[in-house]
Subunit: 598 residues, 2 copies
Amino acid sequence: MSAYSAPLRDMRFVMTELAGLAEVEQLPGCEEVSDDLVDAILDEAAKFAGSVLAPLNWTGDQAGAKWQDGQVTTAPGWKEAYRQFSEAGWPAIACDPDFGGQGLPKLLSTAVMEMWKSANMAFSLCPMLTTGAIEALMLRGSDEQKAIYLPKMVSGEWTGTMNLTEPQAGSDLAAVRTKAEPQGDGTYRIFGQKIFITYGEHDLTDNIVHLVLARLPDAPEGVKGISLFVVPKFMVNEDGSLGERNDVHCVSIEHKLGIHASPTCVLAFGDNGGAIGTLIGEPNRGLEYMFIMMNEARFAVGMEGLALSERAYQHALQYAKDRVQGTDAGVRGGPKVSIIHHADVRRMLMSMKSQTEAMRALAYVVGAATDKAHHHPDASERERAQAFVDLMIPVVKGWSTENSIEVTSTGVQVHGGMGFIEETGAAQHFRDARITTIYEGTTAIQANDLLGRKIYRDKGATVSAVLAQMKAVAGDARATGDAPFVAIANSLEQGVKAVEEAVAYILATYGEDIKAASVGSVPFLKLLGIVSGGWQMARAALVSRARLAEGGGDESFYEAKIVTARFYADHVLSAASGLAYAVVNGAAGALDLNEEQF
Amino acid sequence: MSAYSAPLRDMRFVMTELAGLAEVEQLPGCEEVSDDLVDAILDEAAKFAGSVLAPLNWTGDQAGAKWQDGQVTTAPGWKEAYRQFSEAGWPAIACDPDFGGQGLPKLLSTAVMEMWKSANMAFSLCPMLTTGAIEALMLRGSDEQKAIYLPKMVSGEWTGTMNLTEPQAGSDLAAVRTKAEPQGDGTYRIFGQKIFITYGEHDLTDNIVHLVLARLPDAPEGVKGISLFVVPKFMVNEDGSLGERNDVHCVSIEHKLGIHASPTCVLAFGDNGGAIGTLIGEPNRGLEYMFIMMNEARFAVGMEGLALSERAYQHALQYAKDRVQGTDAGVRGGPKVSIIHHADVRRMLMSMKSQTEAMRALAYVVGAATDKAHHHPDASERERAQAFVDLMIPVVKGWSTENSIEVTSTGVQVHGGMGFIEETGAAQHFRDARITTIYEGTTAIQANDLLGRKIYRDKGATVSAVLAQMKAVAGDARATGDAPFVAIANSLEQGVKAVEEAVAYILATYGEDIKAASVGSVPFLKLLGIVSGGWQMARAALVSRARLAEGGGDESFYEAKIVTARFYADHVLSAASGLAYAVVNGAAGALDLNEEQF
């Protein structure tokens, strides 16, 4: 069990100094967003996250969601928290004002999302999935579908789900078998079983809106024969009231390593004559529509990596300040000290802190770029921002989530033996984090996307432009002549060089020998993440140096930022060359065994 | 749930070709050990591990140990398995023949221990702790104590425990407060509470022999005032029969992240007048005695890292061969393939396989060196072997266990979404592994020992001698001119250089600024582990090359070993330089923040 206090100081620093909040506030469509509004929303969200959601995190984990006779009961306190969450208008902040949303910029909703996920990841999955379903309906739903579903989903009165996976169709959605039979009246009857459906059934709302991938009778095989349907738990009458119970039922929920309070459902469609649904958009384009939302969903899961790391850090830090054990190094018989005095505990805390801040910086910068990509008046600016977002989405998802396993594990380690005891709560973060590298596309899926669609397709143009920015930052750091900045410049320059070597290998290899290139895909994703994080930390250090020179106060924060950036450069960024080596040299060792030789 | 099949081929290869089984068989005291005996024992142990212990691993995890009214009930099947384990004579294999043991060499008992731990780590902890208690009594017990306790502990009729930790005394044993009051009749009454006592109470045997750290009334403060006592659960009559229940009781067991079937007990001594015990050895030397056994215990926990990695690898490999998902890379519309065909799954499996084999090689080599250190006729050989063992114990412990978190996590990842579902069983290995970097001294404690007592104390002499051997191996690899061997030589040479740089920094810094040196202690431990593993894999590759040249069969195994060594060099050993960089440059970033700046 641990308290959560939103890291507002760092959030505001990143939003303002690194992600360009002022610029975002100037974008067309964001004119009503002001610093005051941003501050007010952050403060309110922090309050809600800390006082309502965070206290339910551990109790929800222990109680879990319960299944009986097709009904799912959420953990104690969940219903009331959800009611408050909806009444406060939180589901709507990023949604279209035409349907009751507040249309706030991505940069701001990103910071708010971080808080929900830090406070209570299992809870946050319900609004996250609903947001995905809202996006799909918004983008490709008919006016009728929008009118029926969107207002109640935006208000939080109903929730949404995404039904993709089937037992034989996990990473490989081409294998989806769920069928949709047209009824001739514009509706379809859906038959099939979906697994791993987050909040597929629950007691938080009266209705649940399922988006379901299924095949029409005449559909081509593979990914080009999958359509997207909307299938409500209860049919909706013309007046908006609820009608008959639809033929979709939760047959079981999973017994999982973590996120116990988030029900992961097996849903049976059509066991009693067919679940009635309507087609979204055009036939056979369901996967394409899913891909439109994919960036959003992958970004959100990347935020889980950041958010769990922040929570684990706060938890470990508190313990390290409280727990007294041993004397200061080299002081025999001296007074007992709290363990934060011990060098390795500091190293662990700094490793958690610096990686968390690096993940936050990169994610928010990508969030702001998303706003630019949507709203910037200049088309070429929009295009440039979108290319950057596309490059970085798999990095934010893959790198942040992989990091979170390490960071939450370090959080357990700081607690020593107490970390292994469930009541301490540190283990929960570690268990919860373990799903994040798997769902919404495993790290390998992210890395494939990065290599094929983001590096190889434009022949490295986007990544090269980013590397040029990194070099400029390294140059600025070196030019200061200050020791910490020279250390930062050294590591960042090595890191950029490592990415360049790896990119050159990928460009030379991918077309000829995709397997040889793919062996290096996950190491490359981690490499680009580490170096991108180092880039943002270097920017943060430079800004902090300037603020210190101005003498406007808050020295402690800015000094800490410089030290933290230096730690990151020395301890994290220094892994870059080794990763590049594995990318460039690692194919033969990985591919040369026969299956029998394993 | 997964099957376990002992990796006998690799175990025999490592014992014979890398650890020098033939030499061990020639040592005084080991004359009765023959290749035939070794083969027979390995085969029997493999059978027992695979058929009796392994099937209980997952069911034991799910059922857990249960506490009620001071009694602990082990998981279903545990009692019967323990009975068979004892009847087969397994507790005795490494024990002194004078007390019913078989006195087999450490190298052999190491391989057998690996099997117990792979098959069922939670079960294996009971005999492991008993072995520790036997060692202590053997080394420092009185003849009377030995006569009372040892035969029944060696036979498995009674088990043993180690009672060190108290709520305020974890890593810092100087803070132990449990008291021992002399009764004037050679016995003592013990008062205090001990926590984290593995198998401190259970239903497997009639009696439990607790070894307990406590303070005599006149004891000096700190570590030099701690004595060691033996405190049986039931007093033992002169005829060996059980007498009165002693005043030591299990007041609760912990709710843990993993090893659910291993009861972790809170033991209350003396709540009803005092638990009666006798002093082991001399007063105030308890911690010193513990340290004698520490090498043994730390080595054993290091083996857990290896063993869980092996189990997780077998589990993931089976899934990767069975699970069909997607088509071969670059083949659109081709037949669906098992996921072992995908490049990143291969990379993950090779990373698990290569690290597991490297850990095994290093551990067995250290096991054989332990035999030499005990039995070699030449004193200078014994001394050299002991110095090597002392250097490598913290590495085997710290590196193997840290690796096991990564390897078992990769095992979960190979399973995709199924890895997060508890029924799959992959998550259990990951949960179980998480304790190994904590108990018997956290990784930081191992790393402190490595820096202070193993590197700085002899001014790097022992590590330099080992590095010289590594360089010779790298030279042999390079001299072959074969591409995989040149790749291995490149990485190994870089690795040796990295260790040398780090050692130079440590020697220059440790005496002057122990905190600055200590920031690098864990990265250094990992570095030395990675490079030592690479050294052993290079040796394995060279032996395999020679065997292939001889043409005596088993080509597939030897070819796989060379490929695996190469993978390790490219993907694992390549991290060495980055770690050395953190050791040499990482102090300022880690130490410069005030406590308030975190």
